[in-house]
Amino acid sequence: MRERILILGGVAIFLVLFTYPLWHAAAVSTRAKPPQLELPAEARECVAPIPYMRRAHMQLLIDWRENAVRHGLRRVHAANGKEYDASLTHTCLGCHSRSNFCDKCHSYSGVSAPSCWQCHNESKVIPGRMQ
């Protein structure tokens, strides 16, 4: 009989602790803020439609990389009809800032791999380089 009280009590304490994230967040009524991305100042158009970029920018980066490095195809024809240089530093960082754009989501969601910045430069692009 005594054991039953102890067991049920233990289970109850466990459930309380286990569901802590749910009831504590509700009680304190704060919500995690989604990351605030700083959009590029000048460019109005991305190299691909935004829903596609949200979903598959990783694949686009890999495709650009493989084609540029392994097949020497450094000029890409984007979906919007324009031509771009397949360069992380010059094209992508030509519009976006690593700390105010890329890192905002990547830090929030804890996605660190692959590590581009160990090798690729973040310095500001020379004006007029991107077409």
Binding site: N67, V69, R70, H71, G72, L73, H90, C119, N121
Partner: protein, 251 residues
């Protein structure tokens, strides 16, 4: 409907084969495209080391290369990274030094990747991180390299360097137009492939004020390098190994 284990395994195997096959086919397409654009070139370099002034303090070639490619300057010689560097004639052509004209052998010369036509390094790379491009340049893909250093063991010329440590702290002024590398990958001269793509000559060739380095398309009979090779006798490093180097040392 129930599926037996045997059927499932058969299906899984077939899917694997299909997926691998598809990847092979798509890979082949891109390569064919790239091959067509290289136009049968074979890049080569001739080193007129009798014009070289390494022994008088000049290092324009390696300085230009290191600047262009963010090659680190690491004080610990064991971990040094070098793409083009100086060496004594007697060290490079050990078995041909004894009675050769000292006016010739007293000059230092520049060593770099020989961009062989039958490279030993690309043969042994287990991931395809180094391969031979159609135009003769032996390329490195630093995204794929696992740092096994098999290519370093295979290279008969000692042309390759490994990043034993993170190189970034040892690069004085990072050139934003070219990436640095990270620790754990192998690197070497890339014949300035990124400059060749824009119609420029390699940085070392441009940087040498003595015009000791000649660069060009070996397959073009009208190129300057062919003219130079026709007018001077040239030797190569260890040609008996069958690697087919593309770097010539002019006598």
């Amino acid at each position: 409907m129930t599926i037996t284990r045997k059927q499932f395994l058969k299906f899984a195997a077939a899917s694997l084969v299909g997926a691998a096959g598809a990847k092979l086919v798509s890979g082949a397409e891109v390569v064919k495209q790239a091959a067509a654009s290289k136009n049968g070139k074979r890049w080569a370099m001739a080193v007129d080391f009798q014009k070289c002034r390494w022994d008088q303090g000049c290092n324009q070639c390696s300085a230009a290369c290191n600047r262009a490619h963010n090659v680190p300057d690491i004080p610990d010689k064991a971990h040094e990274v070098k793409w083009i560097w100086k060496e004594k004639y007697q060290t490079v052509f050990r078995q041909q030094s004894e009675v050769v004209n000292p006016a010739l052998t007293s000059h230092p010369l520049s060593l770099l990747c020989n961009h062989c036509s039958s490279p030993a390094c690309t043969k042994v790379c287990p991931t395809g991180a180094t391969w031979k491009q159609e135009d003769g340049v032996v390329m490195m893909d630093w995204h794929r390299c696992i740092g096994c250093r098999y290519c370093m063991a295979a290279c008969p010329y000692g042309s390759r360097s490994f990043n034993f440590v993170d190189p970034r702290p040892y690069v004085a002024n990072i050139n934003p137009d070219f990436p640095t590398r990270t620790k754990g990958v192998v690197e070497k001269c890339n014949f300035c492939n990124e400059r060749l793509a824009k119609g420029q000559i390699p940085a070392c060739v441009e940087g040498c004020s003595e015009r000791a380095l000649t660069f060009g398309d070996q397959n073009d009979p009208a190129s300057e390098i062919r003219r130079v090779l026709a007018s001077r006798y040239a030797i190569q490093r260890q040609p008996e190994l069958g690697t087919g180097p593309s770097v010539y040392y002019l006598i």
